[in-house]
Every structure is written in structure tokens, then in C-alpha cells.
């Protein structure tokens, strides 16, 4: 359903859709099945600013507004969620902290490389004992002269298998002092930076999600992002932004699944008529379309607030919560509408179903999103 009244947004949507249909659609099923990261397609995306969506032009980016960036992620995810994930994580939580918190030297050193896609970015906070409880990270960064020595393990790192630059959250508290964490810019070429095996996951299988191990990994102190102890501040701000991206991803998955379900319902005949003529199916379709439209509005609202410079955290949480919930519901309905064929790998909907689920989990589980929203309302930050 065409939403954007703005021609520029339409054009960005048409352009991304063209790319996605031409380059990603033919391989999406195969790379999911084989867990391959499509390097040639990623290479083609580099010169088109897919990796610098909101980076200023002077650093080689496209300086897109947030709705445009969301549309790009949405259209990629509509065809291939795993690559939509790669792009949204890179832009939303790897590049974004540089834009917000890096000093001039760091920007000049890294932004070009990231915006051009020459370097793929990753953001790693999560550990075995620190999922929702982000404060419980155990990775340490101990200062030794002009270097910090990193030790620890990060898990479920999106883009982990291919990232060149990773933002790592580590404890930098002094002994006997209050626990504090900081963020470090770590290059994959640093000594002691090791990648784990690729995770074998239910969905997003073409994304190289893996663990990252740090064994006495030396990080120069000029690679500290912000100040020591800024970890929480940077983390929270980044997650707010990342949620918009994941919401867009979930929205794209839902859109793709709905389109497939509608097409199938019109073709599939039972009892001598298309199943689309059955009221139950029509109810499903009505619900899917309405919820997707509502989700889209919520997402674009969060984007507008962000671009206006207003606080957008709770709204981003709402968008993420709602879009991911809708994605799970819509993809489940889409499989149901396809009947037995929906359960078969012959059709694409089962992949959408598998891909959708994780959008309710990563970048803050739905439970955490509710916590964020409730706190905001209870503290009267928003109405």
C-alpha cells in the first residue's frame, strides 16, 4: 500500500526496491539456506551509499533524513531481511555512535571507511551474562600506559563474521570504584581480536552473526569513544536509534509477507473459488493491512521526532515493539494463508516467519521496550 505522499521518499523507495528485486530477490532463498553472505551484492551496494545512509556528504554519505533511511531498510528487508539487518545495524548502531560521540580525529579516521562500506561495522554489547541486563557486562578494558587491554567475549554480534570495525562495551572501572563502562573502537586487525563460529540460527541466516573474542587485545586510548564511563550514555542513545532501524526491518518483513499472502489468496482455489473470497481470509488481510499501516505511521513518527532534534527514545521503543509484534503476527498469518505450502521451503513465507521472530528479541526484547515506555510515562516524560 503506497504511503508516502512525498515524491522524494517515493523515489528512494522505488530505487531501493528496484535494487532489491534485481540483486537480492533471486538469491534470498539460497543464501538463507546455505548461510552465505553475498559479498558481490554487498560490493555493489557500496557505491550507492547503502552504508552511509545518514552520514554527512562531507564524509561520503548520503545525508538522508530518517524516514528515507527507514524506507531503505524496509525495502531491503521486504526482499531479504538478513541483508536489511546488515545495513540497519551498520548504519543504525555502528555508524550512529560515531556521528554522535566521536571526536574530529576519530570521525576523520573512520567515517569515510564506514560510509563507503569499505569497512563493515558492528556494535557489541551483549554477552553470555549480559542480555537485557546490559549493566552486567564482564568484558574488561584495563588501562596500561596509552593503551587499554581488552579481555572478554561478546556473543550474537550482527555482522560479526565480516565486521572490520566493532564498537565494544567494556568495564573500565577503577578497582574499588563504582562500576562504569566505556565504548571502544576496535578494528578487526588488532591483535587478539578473534571471531567465533557463525551462529546457526532460525532466521537471518545469511547474516554472519558470530561471537567476538578479545584476548589481551590492545586498543589505543584515542579509540575510546567519548569519555571513560560514557558507556551507559552511549549505549542508551545508540539503542534508541537502533530501534528505529529494527522497526523498519520488521515492517519490511511484514510487508513482504502480506504481499505474498494476498497474491496466494487470489490464486489458490478451494471449493471452486479463490480463498480470498472467504470472509476469514478477508479478515486476516484486513487486519494485516491495518496493522502494517499503523506500524508504519508509528515508525515514521519516531523518525520525524528524531530529525526534529526532539527526544525520541520512547517513541522509538513503541515503534520497535509494535512493528516487531506486527511482523510476527503477519508472518504467522501469511504462513497460515498459504496452508501446507506455507510450511514448505518451496515458498518464501516460511523464511519471513523465521526472520520475523528475532525482531521481537534483539535490540532490546519486547519486554524491555515495555519497560522503557512505562518508565517514560510514569516519569511523565511523555504524555
Amino acid at each position: 500500500m503506497q504511503f508516502n505522499p512525498c515524491m522524494k521518499h517515493n523515489l528512494i523507495r522505488a530505487s531501493t526496491r528496484h535494487f532489491a528485486e534485481t540483486e537480492l530477490a533471486p538469491i534470498a532463498a539460497e543464501i538463507d539456506h546455505n548461510r552465505t553472505f553475498p559479498r558481490e551484492v554487498i560490493a555493489r551496494m557500496r557505491g550507492l551509499n547503502y552504508f552511509g545512509l545518514q552520514v554527512p556528504e562531507k564524509y561520503g554519505g548520503a545525508a538522508l533524513d530518517s524516514i528515507s533511511a527507514a524506507i531503505v531498510v524496509e525495502e531491503l528487508s521486504r526482499v531479504c531481511a538478513a541483508i536489511g539487518l546488515c545495513v540497519t545495524v551498520h548504519n543504525g548502531v555502528a555508524v550512529y555512535p560515531f556521528l554522535q560521540f566521536a571526536d574530529k580525529r576519530q570521525k576523520e579516521k573512520y567515517l569515510f571507511r564506514l560510509a563507503s562500506g569499505e569497512d563493515v561495522g558492528a556494535f557489541s554489547l551483549t554477552e553470555a551474562n549480559a542480555g537485557s541486563d546490559a549493566g552486567s557486562v564482564e568484558t574488561t578494558a584495563v588501562k596500561n600506559g596509552g593503551t587499554y587491554i581488552l579481555n572478554g567475549t561478546k556473543i550474537f554480534v550482527t555482522n560479526g563474521g565480516v565486521c572490520d570495525i566493532a564498537l565494544i562495551f567494556a568495564l573500565t572501572s577503577a578497582p574499588d570504584a563504582k562500576l562504569q563502562s566505556s565504548v571502544f573502537i576496535v578494528e578487526s586487525s588488532f591483535q587478539g581480536f578473534l571471531r567465533g563460529e557463525l551462529e546457526d540460527l532460525c532466521g537471518m541466516r545469511a547474516n554472519p552473526i558470530s561471537s567476538l573474542f578479545f584476548e589481551d587485545c590492545p586498543v589505543p586510548e584515542e579509540n575510546l569513544l567519548g569519555k571513560p564511563g560514557d558507556g551507559m550514555k552511549i549505549g542508551l542513545a545508540t539503542l534508541d536509534n537502533g530501534r528505529i532501524g529494527v522497526a523498519a526491518q520488521a515492517l519490511g518483513i511484514a510487508q513482504g509477507a502480506m504481499e505474498a499472502a494476498v497474491k496466494y489468496a487470489k490464486e489458490r482455489q478451494q471449493f471452486k473459488k479463490p480463498i480470498a473470497s472467504q470472509q476469514t481470509i478477508q479478515n486476516y488481510i484486513a487486519d494485516m493491512a491495518t496493522e502494517i499501516t499503523a506500524a508504519r505511521l508509528l515508525l515514521y513518527h519516531a523518525c520525524d521526532l528524531k530529525d526534529a532534534g526532539a527526544p525520541f527514545g520512547p517513541e522509538a521503543s513503541m515503534a520497535k515493539l509494535y512493528c516487531s509484534t506486527v511482523a510476527s503476527k503477519v508472518t504467522s498469518l501469511a504462513v497460515q494463508i498459504h496452508g501446507g505450502y506455507g510450511y514448505s521451503k518451496e515458498y518464501d513465507v516460511e523464511r519471513y516467519f523465521r526472520d520475523a521472530k528475532v525482531t521481537e528479541i534483539y535490540e532490546g526484547t519486547s519486554e524491555i521496550q515495555r519497560m522503557v515506555i512505562a518508565r517514560a510515562i510514569l516519569s511523565r516524560q511523555i504524555l
Partner: protein
């Protein structure tokens, strides 16, 4: 004295053996002519054209207007436009039919513009009223509907017709026609688009557009090895292999095999469609394939509904069995 009504068919002869559209149009022109008491006239221009004059006579022309000249050896749209304009101005035909070949589709609209008359392109049917109004039936709205189109005021009425729409009459040696061998008109303008190279394309290169039999495979074939078996079927039937876009991008077939909106437009007599759902980008290239056999696990796929014969089966499975059965039955 009332002028004799005439229906003209432009002789597009250069691929005579593969492309019978002129003969098909002559046959239809005969039907139309009968209703209004008109003469069927074939226009043949070129060099060394005796063979085509005889063929068109044997296939329905009452009259042949021919111009034979060395300067007309290779098709030249500009020359033919000038010649037709000259002939039409002199003879005032009621109707001109042109086959919708690549040539026809460029030539006819230009001729219509030059003559200031109306044209319906890619007609799939023609009819005529007793007072000589040509009813042109052409697809509209993306091919799902048909439209009846008429050119009410302007003459001649023009239409281009897809090859394979009509059936030619069998070659009849006993038919005769009035053959007018006309000289090249004196002040024919020099063609501004000069033909400097002109040769028949090596058959294999773009064989698929002219293939009589095509075995086309989609993603439902499963994998590259299964897809490759299509070549075996094609060889048995003397045909070619086509592919859908996902298949080409998956590397199972080369771009030359791509059939559809962005690929080749085909017009085989017999088309096998294996494991293809029938997305519009593909079906746009199917043209007027005479006989379509679709094989798909999903009996409700669009392609299955478009087919003359729809086989509900695993595409690769059926293909293997078809090859085996054919091998048993073929005897030269």
C-alpha cells in the same frame, strides 16, 4: 464508376520460411474482401522478388503491386515508406495490413503518421462491417481485456497483426493474380538512414526468438543440474531453452535465455513451461506461443491457468519422465 475496393497486405518476406505472417494476412484479407467485394492486393518491393510474387499469388493475392530495383536490395524503412506513400496516394486502398514483425512495428506507425491515418498495433483479430469499416481487435489494459477499435474517418485503415494470429491458406498453384511490375518512381527521396551492413544473423545467436519449440524453466526446477536437463528435451524436439529471471541470476542459465519483459520475446509453436509461477515480468515475453504446456506442483499458479495443458507434478520429475518417454517414441 465506383472505385474497386482493395485490401493491401505489405509483403514482409525476408524471413519467409520462419515468418509466415504475410501469408496469414493474405488469407484473412481474402475473408474480409469477400464481405465487401474488395480485391486483395499484395505489395512487394525489393530486388529479385519473383519468388515472393509467385508465393503471394498462390496464397491469396488477386493483384500484386511490385517494384523491383537493385537499390532496394536490403530492407530500408525510409525507402519503403516513400514507396508506400507514393503507391497509396496513387491507388487509394481502403485497408492496409502489416505483419507485426520488428520491421512492421517500426514501419507501420511511421506510415500511418505519414498518411495521417489511424493504426491499431498488435491486433489479435480483425472483422469488417458490410460498409467496409475495419474492426481491429487488440489487447488492452495489460492484455487482460480486448478492445474493438475502429478508424472512422481516415483512410486507409491500418492495422498490424501478430504472427500466428491467422492461418494461411494452403499453397495453391492454380491461383492467378494480376501482377503489376512498376518502375521505381522518378524522384524518390534519398534515404537518410543508409544501410551499410546487412546480413542474416547467425542462427544460433538469438535462436530463441525464432525457435519453434522452447523448453522454459523457472525456479521450480530446483537446482542447476535439474535445469540443465531442459537442454536434453530441447535437443530431442529441435528447440531451445529459455529461463526466467531468478534462474538467470542464480546462474543456472545465461542472459541470452531470459524470456520476459526485460528479455526475449518469443513466439514458439510449442512452449513447455517447467516450474514457473507466471510472474508478469515473464509472461510479458510469451507473446502468442501457440501451444503452452505448463508443469508445476501448484495447480493454481498463473502459468498453469494460462496453459493449453497444465500438468500438476514436480517439474523436474515430469521432465525426466517426458525425456524418457520421448526417447522411446521418436523415430525419424
Amino acid at each position: 464508376m465506383t472505385k474497386q475496393k482493395s485490401i493491401w497486405v505489405f509483403g514482409d518476406y525476408r524471413n519467409y520460411y520462419q515468418n509466415r505472417v504475410t501469408l496469414q494476412l493474405l488469407s484473412k484479407a481474402m475473408d474480409l474482401a469477400r464481405v465487401i467485394g474488395a480485391q486483395v492486393c499484395a505489395v512487394v518491393v525489393g530486388h529479385d522478388i519473383e519468388e515472393w510474387i509467385m508465393e503471394y499469388t498462390a496464397h491469396g493475392a488477386d493483384r500484386i503491386l511490385s517494384i523491383d530495383h537493385p537499390s532496394l536490395t536490403s530492407y530500408s524503412t525510409e525507402h519503403y515508406l516513400a514507396l508506400m506513400q507514393y503507391l497509396v496516394t496513387q491507388r487509394d486502398p481502403d485497408i492496409i495490413l502489416v505483419g507485426a514483425t520488428d520491421f512492421g512495428r517500426e514501419f507501420a506507425p511511421r506510415l500511418a503518421k505519414r498518411l495521417g491515418t489511424g493504426l491499431s498495433a498488435d491486433c489479435v483479430g480483425l472483422d469488417i462491417t458490410p460498409d467496409g469499416l475495419l474492426v481491429q481487435i487488440a489487447p488492452s489494459f495489460g492484455g487482460n481485456m480486448l478492445a474493438e477499435i475502429v478508424t472512422e474517418k481516415h483512410r486507409p485503415q491500418m492495422a498490424t497483426v501478430r504472427p500466428g494470429t491467422f492461418r494461411e491458406i494452403p499453397h495453391n498453384y492454380e491461383r492467378t493474380a494480376i501482377v503489376e511490375r512498376l518502375p521505381l518512381p522518378p524522384d524518390l527521396p534519398v534515404s537518410r538512414a543508409r544501410v551499410i551492413e546487412y546480413e542474416r544473423a547467425v542462427q544460433r545467436e538469438h535462436a530463441i526468438e525464432n525457435a519453434t519449440v522452447i523448453a522454459c524453466g523457472g525456479r521450480g526446477m530446483g537446482n542447476k543440474n535439474n535445469f540443465k536437463k531442459l537442454y536434453e528435451l530441447a535437443d530431442l524436439l529441435g528447440g531451445d531453452v529459455g529461463a526466467t529471471r531468478p534462474v538467470v541470476y542464480a546462474g543456472w542459465a545465461g542472459h541470452g535465455a531470459l524470456i520476459g519483459q526485460a528479455g526475449k520475446h518469443i513466439k514458439p509453436k510449442l512452449l513447455f513451461s517447467f516450474g514457473i509461477s507466471g510472474a508478469i515480468q515473464h509472461t510479458a515475453g510469451l507473446g502468442e506461443a501457440n501451444f503452452i504446456v505448463a508443469v508445476n506442483k501448484n495447480p493454481q499458479a498463473t502459468m498453469m491457468k494460462m496453459a493449453d495443458v497444465a500438468v500438476t507434478a514436480d517439474a523436474s520429475d515430469f521432465l525426466n519422465n517426458l525425456i524418457r518417454e520421448l526417447k522411446k517414441r521418436i523415430h525419424d
